[in-house]
Structure formats: C-alpha cells, structure tokens
Amino acid sequence: MNDPVHSSRLDAFDEAFRAWGRRDAPTSSRQAASVVRSQLATPHQGFPMLRLAAAAAVLLVIGLLAFLAAPSAVPPSDVAALHPQPLGDGVVQFWLNPETPIVFVLSPMGSRSGDNS
C-alpha cells in the first residue's frame, strides 16, 4: 500500500514537473526554424554525388584489375610461330596470327616462275 506522505510528495513533484516541463523553449520556433534552415545541407544532391563518386571509383578499380588480369593478346607459346620459319630451300612461312600462315616461295635467280626443277 502506498504511503500517503510519499504519494503526496510524488503528486507534488508531478505537478511541479508538469509546470516545468510545459514551459516554452527559450528560443522561439520561428527563430529556431531560421537557424536550422541556414544549416540545411542538400541531401538530395550531396548524397547522390558521394554515391556517384564511390561507384566511379569502384568501376575504375574493377576495370584496372580486369586489364591487369586479362591474358595478353598473343600467348607466349605462339610467339615463335609468328616468326618466319624456313621450310625448305626458297620457302618461307609467316604467320599473320596462329591460324593464318603465309607461305613465300622464292625462286632462284635466272629461273622461270613456277620452274622448281
């Protein structure tokens, strides 16, 4: 059971608290609104700009990593195949790429074209 003396103290406190708690703010709402307005950032511009910059940075890093990790256009093992290789007397083969050979047949001085004998 509540002690009536204690209850009356609490009641008195509540009454005083209510009066204290309902006092107006020292700064008027109009003045406060003006101060707050002067400090408003532009979230609808500021945050997208940050997000855009972050996205661009991520894309740049991904692109750089992809470039560094990509295999070179010509595998090292195929490089030798692209060098001219003598196949026999007067025959030279070049490779435009690993699938495209070009064969040159060189005629000796004084022979006619097509005469290999």
Binding site: G21, A25, Q39, A41
Partner: protein, 170 residues
Amino acid sequence: MSDDTVPLVLHARAGDRGAFTRLVELHWGRLVRFARSVVGEAEAEDAVQEALLAAWRKLPDLTDPACFGGWVGRITYRRCLRRTGRFRHLLPLEAAPPQAVEPAPDGEILIWQVLRRLAPRQRAVLHLTVVEEMSDSEIGTLLGITPASVRSHRRRGRDRLRHVLEGGRP
C-alpha cells in the same frame, strides 16, 4: 498529426527547404520540452537542432509522412541519449547514491536536480507520461520499446523519485 503536416513532409522529402522549415516551426517547442527533461535545459536546444538536421538528411528514408512527429521525436530521443552517454562521467545517474534535494527557498522543488538522478530512459518515460500525458503504447512507439518496458521504466523511475524526494532514506 494534423492533415496539413503530411503535404509539408512530402514537399520537404522532395527537397523543399521551406516546407521543412515550417515543420521545424511546428515541432520545435514540443521537441525542446522533451529534450529538456532528458538532457536538461542547457543542452536541450542543441540536441533538438542536431536531431532536426539529422532528420532532414534522413527524410528520404521516412516511408509514412503521417508518422513524422513520432519519427522526429525518436531521432531527438536518440540524440539526447547519445549526449547523456557522452557526458555520463559528469552526471550522477542511477548508480550514484541518492542525495537529498534541498527545496528552493520559496519551497519550489528544483525539478532538474531531481530528474538528473534518474536514468535518461526513465526521464523520457516520465516526461511523456506526466507532461505530455501519452499512453504507454504511444510512448513505446516513440521510444522504440514495448509498452511493458515503458511500464518498467516508469515504475523504476517512480521508485527512484520517491527515494530521492525522501532524501535517500530507504
């Protein structure tokens, strides 16, 4: 929340500073009164100002414009809690032994001297109960706790108050 607040929130959410300024005017007094009971007179207005600037930044995240009042109240409450946490070493909280509160010469109870001996959550619940006369459900929604927690905080706050008003006697 009045019907004309919702269009203001919608305009503010779209980036209209004028609409947000009007919302500040409408809610300033209520928020400062609440913050005053949680962090004291000296810090109340700064806490509310911080909260309103945070609300402006977070406004695009507010899904239901009709909930603006409770939403900004909750942001204010969290800012106040952060402030009381920052200065915890300076303020005697629940763990501190209760001390007698000397009445002012004219018999007036020095409210903040009493309130500061309660935990910040207890102060918030007592303010919303005694000053704003809100229901447990409304208080729970605003503070982000259950109505049962509201009752628990209020009961502990009342016990503590009784203790303090008696001058620390059991």
